[in-house]
Structure formats: C-alpha cells, structure tokens
Symmetry: C2
Subunit: 224 residues, 2 copies
Amino acid sequence: MEKVVRHFQEELEQLKRRLLEMGGLAEENVRLAVKGLVDRDHALIDRVLLGDEPLNALHIEIDNRAFTLLALYQPMAADLRTIVAALKINTDLERVGDLAVNIAEAARRYASHLPVKKLIDIPRMASIAQTMLRDALDAFVRRDVDLAQQVLNEDDKLDALKTQIFRELLTYMLQDTSTIEPALDLILVSRHLERIGDHATNIAEDVIFIVSARDVRHHAREGA
Amino acid sequence: MEKVVRHFQEELEQLKRRLLEMGGLAEENVRLAVKGLVDRDHALIDRVLLGDEPLNALHIEIDNRAFTLLALYQPMAADLRTIVAALKINTDLERVGDLAVNIAEAARRYASHLPVKKLIDIPRMASIAQTMLRDALDAFVRRDVDLAQQVLNEDDKLDALKTQIFRELLTYMLQDTSTIEPALDLILVSRHLERIGDHATNIAEDVIFIVSARDVRHHAREGA
C-alpha cells in the first residue's frame, strides 16, 4: 500500500509537470504570434500556424494521464480535486494554444496591408495575459491562493485596454476606409488576448477551488 | 452492494438530465439573443443580459454532482469516462451561455444604430449552431456515435457562412462609413455563433471518446 501511495504521488507530480510544460508551450506560442504581428515577420507567423502539433499531443497525453490516475487509484478529497482541476486546466491551455493560432492568422492578414499604426497597447495586453497565465499555473503547482487571487484582479486591465484599442481603431476606420480591413484584424487580436486572460482566470478559480474547496466562480465575476 | 449500484445509476441519470436541462437553457438563450438582434427587441435583449443566473447555478450544481459521484462511488471504465465527459460538457455549456450574453451585448449596441441590412445569414448560422448543440447533447445521452459524427460534419457550414458574412459586411463598411460600427457588431455575432458550433463539436468529440474510447480530437480537426 505504501508503495502504491508513493507511486500515485509520483504520477500526480508528473501530471503537474506536463501541465506546466503545456502552459509554457501555449504561452510561448502567444508570445511568438504577437511578435510576428508587431514585427510583420512571416516566418514567425508561419511557425505558430504550423507549430501547434506538440500542444495537441500534450493535450491528449495529459487527459489520458489524468483519466488513468482516476481509474487506477480512485483518489479522494484533495487529490481528486487536483486531478479534476488538471482536466479543466488542460482544456483551458488547449484553447490558449488555439487562440495563439487565431492571433497568427490575423497577423498574416494584417501583414498583407499597410500598417494602421504603431502597435503599443496590443503588446501590452499580450504581456499582461502571458503573466496572468504563468501566475495562474504557478498558483496551481504551489497551491497559492493569494497568487490566484492576484490573477483574478488583473482581468480588469485587459478589459480596459481592449475597450481603448477598439475606440482608437474605430477612429482610424472612420477617417480612412483603407484601414478598415487591417484595423478589424487588430480588434480581433485584442479580443483573442482578452480571452487568453479569461482562461488564466478560469485556472485561478480552479486553484482557489482545489485549495479552499470553496467555489468562487460566478461570484468573482459578479464583483468585476 | 446491489443497492449502491442502483443508487449510482440513478445519480448518473440525474446528472445527465441536469446537463440536458443546462443545454436547453443555453440553447434558448442563444435563440433569444439572436431573435433580439433581428427584431431589435430591447426587452428580449435585456432578458438574456440579465438572465444567466439559472445557468450559472446549474453549472456549479452539475460540477458538484459529478465531483460527488467520483468521490463517493469511484466508478470505473465507461461510467468514469461518462462523468469526466460530463465535467467537460458542463464547461462547454457554460461558455455557450456566456456567448449568448456576448451576442445580446452586440445586439444592444447594434439596435442603437440604423440597421445595416436585412439579417438572413446570421439567423441561419444560429439555427445550425443550435441544432448542432441539441444533436451533440442527444448523442451524449443516447451514446449515439453516428449522430455525434453528424455534428462534426456540420461545422464546415458555419465556417463558410461566417466567411460569407464577413465579406458582405466589409463591402458595406467600405462603401459607407456610417455602417462601420454596426457592421462590426454583426461580424462579432457571427464569430460568437461559430464558437457555439465549436463547443457543440467538443461535446460530439467527447461522445465519440466515451463510447468508443477512441480519441478523435485534433485528428478530426485536421480533416476539416
């Protein structure tokens, strides 16, 4: 029995490591996609568009690991909550990877037009979203409720930047119709980045759930 | 033991019924939001904007039910896969509810401008997305792989309509800048509807996974 328990804990640690690895890949793809957009770098954009296979493979592997842990060890209480959270976090990270691809698609279209403006707020949004994602995963691994709460508090910044970006781009579009198409893609990118922040928020809420076994979902959003 | 098994099966049936109920609510909110957009009906739009509390409560209840089933009965094989799928489907349905709210937000803004055009393709997208969602949940309850596969096949239609809507609205925006703001909201609505189709697709993939214990995710997308 002692050996079974030790084996379970090792498997659980391995599951967490793979989730962190997946988070790292997803975050890196977001970073590259936004860099590709800003630098108008076709090679970088193509790398993101063609490079989500490792993420997809990891997504399936993590799902299988979590499922196997549930089936073989039938864990209770805190361990069960952690594995259920891992399944959800895995879904969130897969979507972040998809959003990085969506950003790269917009970047490719954007690079086929003249630039609308110097991009400042979009890299700022990307940086906030990436930090939220990293902090949410650190909070999961360290079971750090304070850090998770900090992630929830960051979400308003993304929302404010998204609104600001929209207003500014609308002005450009109204003044010069040649900016309509590329400006639309920048608006889409700002929405993709906001959704990456939403996924970080989901992960942070899961952390608070597994640590305190208290459900902050929906209540947290009402306060926003 | 016999009694425990019967009790578990009853609880599992109850979990499925609650998921169907949640699916029904989410689908109804999508329907009302799109009807509010088409009819420019502020009362209907407000009903969706203020009416997602039952969905949020059901989301938490279903999560708790699934979690309790895992903790109390430690189910194996097919039952375990069904409960893990229920947790994922629950997340998908919650997002569909959020997307209905997003559509209602766009509808409210849209109704404050002159109409850009008669809306035909957007109600068509909504109808396809709603059917996909309903079929995916039916497939889950009936363990019907053929119906799930049918849902996966519908996704291309939504994608084609979204592209068509975008091209048409872009023409309006380039010809008349007063249409830029409302046309943007229609473009966003078409993207929200596409994402509802994505969630139906996720559910259909889960059905194929629980029935055949074969993972179609990512592979299915590659074929698209």
